[in-house]
Symmetry: C2
Subunit: 221 residues, 2 copies
Amino acid sequence: MINCYAFAAVPPFAQGLVRDLRVRWACEEAGLPYRVTLIGDGNGGISRDAYGKIQPFSQVPAIEDGDLTLFESGAIVLHVAEQSPKLLPADPADRAQVIQWMFAALNSIEPRIQELAGIDLFYTDERWAKERRPGAVQAVQQRLAQVAPQLEGRDYLVGSFSAADILMTTVLRILRHTKLVDEQPVIAAYQKRCESRPGFQAALAGQMEPFERGAARQATA
Amino acid sequence: MINCYAFAAVPPFAQGLVRDLRVRWACEEAGLPYRVTLIGDGNGGISRDAYGKIQPFSQVPAIEDGDLTLFESGAIVLHVAEQSPKLLPADPADRAQVIQWMFAALNSIEPRIQELAGIDLFYTDERWAKERRPGAVQAVQQRLAQVAPQLEGRDYLVGSFSAADILMTTVLRILRHTKLVDEQPVIAAYQKRCESRPGFQAALAGQMEPFERGAARQATA
């Protein structure tokens, strides 16, 4: 059974965005059983130091699947997708297109969105961040305007729901503190469509559960 | 035969870095024949407008392989690699590790390097760029320091040379205007090892050829 690592606690701005969400969602859609090991949890989890030996960048996620240890959300989602035609079609051309959009989400779109999120979440008070922000917003808007026509008249990026939609949706979610997705109604509808899937809801609830447990514990302390 | 799109002309700072290099290199290593269609070349190439209909972000590369049109350098390199055990090992665990490092190069390392390159190449004179630069340098240094131990005592990222090394090397090359790779001798030696391969040399010569032809034409005009 896949063992996925996730954080026991993260600040509110990251809750619902941490990238183990991608792995959980893929497993849910594929119907693959998985368990979660929490990092930084005294009860049965592992320490951040121990996790650093598994993931060289100390980032989440990483998984163990039998003897295999794997990191990078894109690689893990592809690893899971290869076990389910629900996420990766058997037809070679469709399969290649799904992989194309997986890389597009992570290499052509996420970097621009991540730059803006960094400015807004980590560097708000820095003068450079204020001056760079309009350009960073424009860079995101350009990409969203380029993606929108690709989704026009279709429910998902390639045929039916696939691993590409898992990555694209979770990349778009990083913009939740802005109105940028709403500026492109086709993309907003797409994101809503993907997020309304039971597999996404289960994955999100799974990630949030320890955070909510932690908050409840603090409230009663 | 694979048809790879590449630019007929780019500014000097981009020459030898444009991402069709990744596709050419993969084809060279795999021993797959390929041809190149130049964008913005009056003689037998296609216009930038026509290319925009093939690649939604107007970025290079894109390929045609039979009926399949594919963009995103990561997806194309994986598509080529799946046709050659020289680039993607058959053993499932090794294969997964190669794909892991492909995503790591493009999603965990390239965004930080690209941010620094943007500052240095596009925004040099902006006040925000000067103020952001030390942080951007630090972010790159952190990643390089995390990658170096992974290469300690080994020639390539996963066993023998693979598609992961094509992406990692071409990502590291984006730092050529800095001394950051030299700060990590293990990575510098790795990059040199990969770039000394005949497949890389042929790929680089292929990308540079129209640029040099254009420069010679200008010099004699």
